[in-house]
Symmetry: C2
Subunit: 435 residues, 2 copies
C-alpha cells in the first residue's frame, strides 16, 4: 500500500490537544495501517510559544499565526480543540473556506453556530466532524448518523455531564448534601471554580441540542432547550427516590412526536432497574430508542484528555479517508426536517412532587382535588415526617402534560395548608422492562 | 438533490429478510433524504414462489434463479439473509465477482470464510459489510472499525448470545435449574429445538472470533476459540456466585497481549457492580477497553427481525453512499496483523472452583497444598454444607495461568478426600471500579 502523508493543523494545545498529539504518536503504526496513510501534525496554533506544554514537541511546530495553518495548502485537516466560540468560530470558518476538513470537539460552537458551520462546510466541500463534542469517547454521533440511520429515532436520552453524575452518585451513596459534594468535586478537579455550566445543566443542554438535531434531522436552537440543573436536589429527594425504587440523574432528553420534538435537561427519577441507573461517577451513557432497533445504550467516559482525543482521532481518520478517496464532505448535515421544538408546557411526563403541608385532617383531600381539577391523575401518595404541625406529602403522578402540572401547582400555592412546594422532578424510563 | 435509485437484490426472505423489506418501506422517506438516493429491492431469491410470506410483495419480485440477481447489472447491492454457508458462500462470492457490494447478517459465513470473502471483495472493489452478524442491532462492528479506530483495543468482551442470557437471567432470578429454564425458553421460542449452538457456546464463539479479528487486526480461526457452554451451570453455582458478589454470564472474551491474543467463550463470574451484570433477558452488550478511550459499553437487542434488520439497513445505506460517491470498498478488511491465538493453557484468569470433599480434618490443608505447589494462590476459601460425611469447598483464586489450574485439578482428583470437582468457572471484570 502506498504511504500517503496527510498533514494536520491543530488549533490549541490544551488537555484534549495534548491527547490528540499523544494518540497520533503512540498509535501511529496501527492508524497508518488502518487508513493507508500517515497522519502528521504540521503546525499547532497556540497563544504563547514559551509556555511549557509537558510534552516533547518537534522544533518549529508551534505558531501564533493562524495563517500558517489556514493558509498552508499542504494542511488538509484542521483540528479545533481551542474551545469557546470567539475567536474560534472565525478560525474554523477560515479553515473551511480554505477547503480544509475540520474536526472539532467544541459543543458550544456546534450547538450555537451549527447552521453557518455546516453551510460553509457544504459550500467548500469539506468534512465537518464533531464526534468529540458530545459524550467524549462514546461514539454517539457516528452511531446516530450511520449505524442507526435506517431507524426513525423515537427517543434519545442520557447522562451527558460527568460532573453532575459524579455529584449525584456521591449524594446517593453517601446521603450527603449538594453543597458538600460540590466542594469535594471542586477539590478533585471534577467541577470548576464556577460550576454553573455543569450544575445549572447548560453543558448538557448544548449536548442534547446537538443529539436532537442529528436524531430528528431538525436544527434545535439552544434557546428552545428547557434547562434545569441539580442545585435544588436535596438529600431528602434522594432518600425518597430510593424508597420509591428510583435514582436521580441529570438527563438530557429528546423525544420525537408527530407534532414536534421535546428537548429538555433536568434532574430525573429513573427506575433502579433501568440501564442508565447503574451508570455512576463521571461516566456518561446515552440511551437511544429506534423504531427498528428498539432500545440501545452507549456507555463510556464523557470527558478527559484521552477519551475525548479518541473521538477526535477517529474523526481525523474518517476525514483522512475521505480526502484520500476524493470524497470530502461524504456524510454531511442531515437537518432536512424542520419540526417545531415544543414548549415545556406541551411536554408529557410523570412527576414526583414533594409538598410541605400542615399536618391536619383534610389536607390530602384538598390537594388531591386541585390535581384532579387540572386532570393530573395521581399514581401514589405517601405522607412522611408528620410532626403534628407539619408533614410531607410525596406524590407520583401518571403521565400528564406539564402545563396541567404547572397550573395545579399555582393553585396549590394558594392553599393555606400547603406550606411549600419543596420539589418537582420528572420521572422517565418506565416505558419498558429492562432487567 | 438529484434522486438516484439504487437497486438491491435480496437473498432470502426469512425473519430478517422481511424486516429489511419492512424497514426500507416504512422508513423510505428519511432513508432517501439521508443518503440522497432511493433504495429499491428489485428481486428476492427464495426457494418457493408459492409460500405465503405474510407481507405484501410487488408482483414478480420473487425469483428462484440466483442469476436474476447476480447477473443483473442494474442490481448494485446484494443483501444476504439466507444463513448457513452452503450454498450461501457460493452465492455471495458470485455476487462479489459480479462487482456487487454485499451486506450480510451471516456470522457463520463471516467467521468461517472471512478470508476468501474479504479477498474477493477487495479484488472486485466491492463493499462487504456485516454489522448484523454480531450482536444484532448493536453497532459494534462499525464502532470498532471507525469510532474507536484511533485506539489500541486491549479487551473486547460481552454478552453476545441472547438465548443463554435469557436462561441465566431466569436461573438467577428464580433459582431454577438449567433443564427447566431450557424447556421454558424453547416454549417461548427463545431457544431452538436443538439448542446446542446456543447453550454449547458455539454461536457466541463465531461472534467473538469476528469481533477479535476486527479489534486486533488478526484473522482468528474458529478452531482456535476455546468454547464452553452453560450446560454445566447449576442452581448451586448461581447461589454461590450471588453470595460472593457475582453474577454468572456467558461471555465471549478477547484480550490483546504482547505475546498473542486470547479468544474464548465460557460462563463467567462478573462482579454485580460491573455494567454487564445488569444486562438481562435477551439483551446483548459488548464491553470494549481501548488504550485511549478507556472502558466503553454498547447495549441493545442481539437478535430479532427488526433489530437485526436495522443493522442490515445501515450497512445497505453505507454501501449505497459508497456506490454513489464512486468509492465502493471504502473501508476494507484490516487483518494486517498476524498475532498468534494463544492456547487456553496460556491464558490468565481468576477462578471459582467448587469441590465436593470428605468432611474430615486436614482436607483443606491438602487441597491448599496442591494449589500452592502449582503456584495457584487462593484469594478466598469457604466451606459449605458440611454433613459430617461430605462438604463443599468454594475457592476463588487470584489471577493465575490456566495451565497451572488444570495441573492442580489433575492432582486434586488423585486425592481420596476430593470426591468431585463440581465446577470451575473463570472470574472476569474486576480490573476496574465501575459503579
Amino acid at each position: 500500500m502506498e504511504r500517503q502523508i496527510i498533514k494536520i493543523g491543530l488549533l490549541g494545545l490544551g488537555t484534549v490537544g495534548r491527547g490528540v498529539f499523544r494518540i497520533l504518536q503512540e498509535n501511529r503504526e496501527s492508524i497508518q495501517q488502518r487508513i493507508g496513510a500517515r497522519l502528521e501534525i504540521k503546525k499547532i496554533l497556540v497563544r504563547s510559544l514559551a509556555k511549557d506544554r509537558g510534552i516533547e514537541l518537534p522544533a518549529g511546530i508551534l505558531t501564533t499565526d493562524l495563517n500558517e495553518i489556514t493558509g498552508d495548502p499542504e494542511i488538509k485537516i484542521v483540528v479545533e480543540v481551542l474551545g469557546g466560540t470567539n475567536p474560534t468560530l472565525d478560525y474554523v470558518l477560515a479553515a473551511l473556506s480554505n477547503g480544509k476538513s475540520v474536526v472539532t470537539a467544541n459543543k458550544d460552537m456546534v450547538a450555537e453556530y451549527g447552521q453557518v458551520l455546516f453551510e460553509t462546510a457544504k459550500k467548500y466541500n469539506c468534512d465537518l466532524l464533531f464526534e468529540a463534542s458530545v459524550a467524549g469517547g462514546i461514539p454517539i454521533i457516528r452511531t446516530l448518523k450511520q449505524s442507526l440511520a435506517g431507524n426513525r429515532i423515537e427517543e434519545v436520552f442520557g447522562i451527558i455531564n460527568g460532573t453532575t453524575n459524579y455529584m449525584l452518585t456521591k449524594m446517593t451513596r453517601e446521603g450527603s448534601d449538594f453543597a458538600q459534594v460540590l466542594a469535594e468535586a471542586q477539590a478533585k478537579g471534577y467541577a470548576e471554580a464556577d460550576p454553573t455550566a455543569d450544575v445549572g445543566g447548560f453543558d448538557a443542554a448544548r449536548k442534547i441540542a446537538i443529539l436532537a438535531s442529528i436524531a430528528f434531522n431538525t436544527r434545535v436552537p439552544l434557546s428552545k432547550v428547557h434547562t434545569e440543573g441539580i442545585t435544588g436536589i436535596t438529600a431528602d429527594d434522594i432518600t425518597f427516590a430510593n424508597e420509591l425504587g428510583y435514582v436521580i440523574k441529570l438527563l438530557g432528553i429528546a423525544k420525537n412526536r408527530p407534532d414536534g420534538i421535546e428537548v429538555r435537561v433536568h434532574p430525573t427519577f429513573i427506575p433502579k432497574h433501568h440501564p442508565l441507573a447503574a451508570v455512576g461517577d463521571v461516566f456518561n451513557a446515552v440511551f437511544v430508542r429506534g423504531n427498528a432497533v428498539g432500545d440501545t445504550m452507549f456507555y463510556g467516559k464523557g470527558a478527559g484528555e484521552l477519551p475525548t482525543a479518541s473521538a477526535v482521532v477517529a474523526d481525523i481518520m474518517d476525514a483522512a479517508r475521505d480526502i484520500m478517496q476524493g470524497v470530502p464532505g461524504f456524510i454531511g448535515c442531515t437537518c432536512f426536517d424542520h419540526k417545531p421544538v415544543l414548549d415545556i408546557g406541551e411536554t408529557f411526563s410523570k412527576y414526583y412532587i414533594r409538598l410541605k403541608v400542615a399536618d391536619k385532617p383534610g389536607v390530602l383531600a384538598s390537594v388531591a382535588l386541585i390535581f384532579g381539577n387540572k386532570e393530573v391523575s395521581l399514581k401514589s401518595v405517601i405522607q412522611k415526617g408528620a410532626t403534628g404541625k407539619t408533614a410531607e406529602l410525596v406524590l407520583i403522578t401518571h403521565k400528564v402534560q406539564e402545563q396541567n402540572v404547572q397550573d395545579a401547582l399555582m393553585d396549590l400555592k394558594q392553599l393555606s395548608s400547603v406550606l411549600e412546594v419543596a420539589n418537582v422532578i420528572r420521572v422517565e424510563g418506565e416505558d419498558n422492562g429492562h432487567a
